[in-house]
């Protein structure tokens, strides 16, 4: 018997046929593994201060050099991976949850609810992202959790609009009518029937969102409002390099490169997902 191919099979096939997508995905997997096994990979304690070895250029002991307190940059970057990876995933998790719930409600119920929600979204989108983010952070205790929540709270609008659009397109379709006829509740129709059909464009948007969240966190840490020191994050290592701009290129170069590569890989996966899931958009 011939195997029946589903839409998903075709999408997977198209996705994995894209070399860039496979490259991006592999790098992301490597980064996740680095984050998990950070203590095994590092040969030095990322927090250990060793003033005798301060500002050493990259060498065979300190692969990426040392900072102004003699801490090993390689170990600090490995631990920084944890920050970037978790912030990317968790903050976008929060944003997608909010976006999906709010967007579904607006799209499904329509009318005044929709009008109100769309107005709120419009207002939130008026705030320049960095301003809103920093203003929120100014009033909250500085910690990695604050950063996750705050990025999540400012990033849901795009997803909500996407989901709303999908719901409006789908809510009058026959399968929804059928579900309603047999007495399915609103909640059941939203989550069991419409949402699974509306979710694909959101996956693409989430992937790009993770890249954006990683950039946002590194930007915040760079400004000194992100992950509190001494905990290492790519952004705050880079920030410390600012003072030694003409002396220690390695302080700036490696963390920036890491952010760049990570963001690029998420964007590559996002692009490939878009091509694979919706070939019309090419």
């Amino acid at each position: 018997m011939a195997k029946k191919y589903s839409m998903l099979d075709y999408a997977m096939k198209r996705f994995f046929a894209n070399k860039f997508a496979v490259l991006g995905l592999s790098v992301i997997v490597i980064l996740i593994l680095t984050a998990i096994f950070a203590p095994i990979i590092c040969r030095f304690d990322p927090l250990e201060i060793n003033l005798e070895n301060k500002l050493l250029a990259p060498n065979s002991t300190y692969w990426f050099g040392t900072d102004e307190l003699g801490r090993d940059i390689f170990s600090r970057m490995v631990y920084g991976t944890r920050v970037s990876i978790t912030i990317g995933l968790i903050s976008m998790g929060i944003a997608s949850l909010l976006g999906i719930i709010i967007g579904s409600i607006a799209g499904y119920f329509g009318g005044k609810v929709d009008l109100l929600i769309m107005r709120v979204i419009e207002v939130v989108m008026c705030f320049p992202f960095m301003f809103l983010l920093l203003a929120l952070i100014a009033y909250l205790p500085q910690s990695i959790y604050t950063i996750m929540v705050v990025i999540g709270l400012t990033r849901w609008t795009g997803i909500a609009r996407l989901i709303r659009g999908q719901f409006i397109a789908l809510r009058e379709r026959e399968f929804v009518m059928a579900a309603r006829t047999i007495g399915a509740s609103n909640l059941r129709i939203i989550f069991r029937h419409i949402l699974p059909n509306a979710i694909t464009p959101v996956l693409i948007s989430i992937t790009f969102g993770i890249a954006g969240a990683i950039l946002a966190e590194s930007g915040l840490s760079f400004l000194g409002f992100g992950v509190p020191v001494p905990q290492p994050s790519w952004g705050n290592i880079l920030a410390s390099g600012r003072e030694y701009i003409d002396l220690a290129w390695w302080l700036m170069f490696y963390p920036g490169l890491a952010i760049f590569i990570t963001v690029t890989c998420y964007n590559l996966v996002g692009e490939a997902l878009r091509d694979a899931l919706d070939p019309r958009l090419r």
Binding site: V120, C126, A135, G224, F225
Partner: protein, 326 residues
């Protein structure tokens, strides 16, 4: 047209109220008394007491929350944002107003640069669709899009500023600016503007080029282009007279989309290049927990975006009169 303009401005009012509401909510987001919190044990007892008093007075924290909001709104309507907590204690409105032109200059320069580069790249990529050159340009744009702006900024600063010394390290003018003749002054300003503008533009530049390409490609496939070609117009005329005009409509509307990013990005760029704009003011205010300045810059930056949205809509209705009828 006037009718449309009025209608659009009326529609702005609820959004503006929403902006103030969110900002107000942020002030009250902090657990406990925002007045107590604002001192955060950073200052000595006497000055922190003074700030607590100032905050109480400014936000009327002992009154019911609705009264507080309405009082705050009334003062906003008179552009009274209170006095800065910084040592100079100047009125916040005055502080922001003196910085605003600099931020606007930087943003206009970036927008000009973005459009001047993105439009030709978009046209080229669409006309030479699927060629090797187009692919290479595509890869570069993708890299620009993913690169963290502050990293690129520091790297450029390191080479152009520190090592080769061809561009200034920061600020808006040289120390001897006042002694320069007018023409040199202008060049001095331009000189200082180059690095911040380039760095601020990179991300949006890549995005806009891709949109321009997409918009051109979409229009090239349309029937009217086939007609234009069929009646024997030169390819140059087809592309630049017919396709380009229609593609630009989409691009004009994207102005509103890139502006929030630019204004937000100027917080980072202005603090890297010591550019004396609102973004840098906001950044220093954050470091000093200067709450009146933080709140005022947040409201003003969002209002700027709202005004930009209005301008975009007006531009859009100028280039595409069908919109006005809706």
């Amino acid at each position: 047209m006037l009718d449309y303009l009025l209608r659009r401005i009326m529609l702005m009012i609820p959004t503006l109220l929403g902006i103030t509401l969110i900002t107000f909510a942020i002030i009250h987001l902090a657990p406990g008394d925002p007045a107590e919190l604002s001192t955060g044990g950073m200052m000595n007892a006497e000055s922190s007491k003074k700030i607590v008093m100032q905050m109480r007075e400014l936000y009327g924290l002992d009154k019911p929350i609705l009264v507080q909001y309405i009082d705050w709104l009334k003062r906003l309507a008179r552009f009274d944002f209170g006095d800065s907590f910084a040592p100079d204690g100047r009125p916040v409105a005055e502080k922001i107003l003196s910085r605003l032109p600099n931020t606007i200059i930087l943003n206009i320069a970036s927008i000009l640069l973005i459009y001047i580069i993105a439009v030709p790249i978009g046209i080229f990529s669409a006309v030479k669709h699927n060629s090797t050159t187009e692919r290479i340009i595509g890869v570069f744009l993708f890299m620009f899009y993913s690169a963290p702006g502050f990293w690129v900024a520091l790297m450029l600063l390191k080479y152009f500023g520190v090592h080769w010394g061809v561009l200034p390290l920061g600020g808006m003018e040289s120390d001897i600016y006042d002694l320069m003749p007018t023409w040199t002054r202008f060049w001095d300003r331009v000189h200082h503007l180059i690095l911040p503008t380039v760095c601020l533009s990179l991300g949006a530049l890549a995005g806009l080029s891709r949109y321009m390409r997409g918009s051109m490609l979409e229009n090239i496939r349309q029937d009217y282009v086939r007609t234009a070609r069929a009646k024997g117009l030169s390819e140059f005329k087809v592309i630049f007279k017919h396709v380009l005009r229609n593609s630009l409509i989409t691009i004009v509307t994207l102005f509103a989309g890139i502006l929030p990013g630019l204004i937000g990005g100027s917080v980072i760029m202005e603090s890297i290049f010591s550019w004396p704009g609102v973004g840098r003011l906001f950044f220093t205010a954050l470091q000093m927990r200067d709450y009146p300045v933080i709140m005022a810059s947040t409201v003003i930056s969002a209002t700027l975006v709202l005004v930009a949205l209005l301008i975009t809509d007006l531009l859009y209705s100028l280039v595409d009169p069908r919109i006005r009828l809706k």
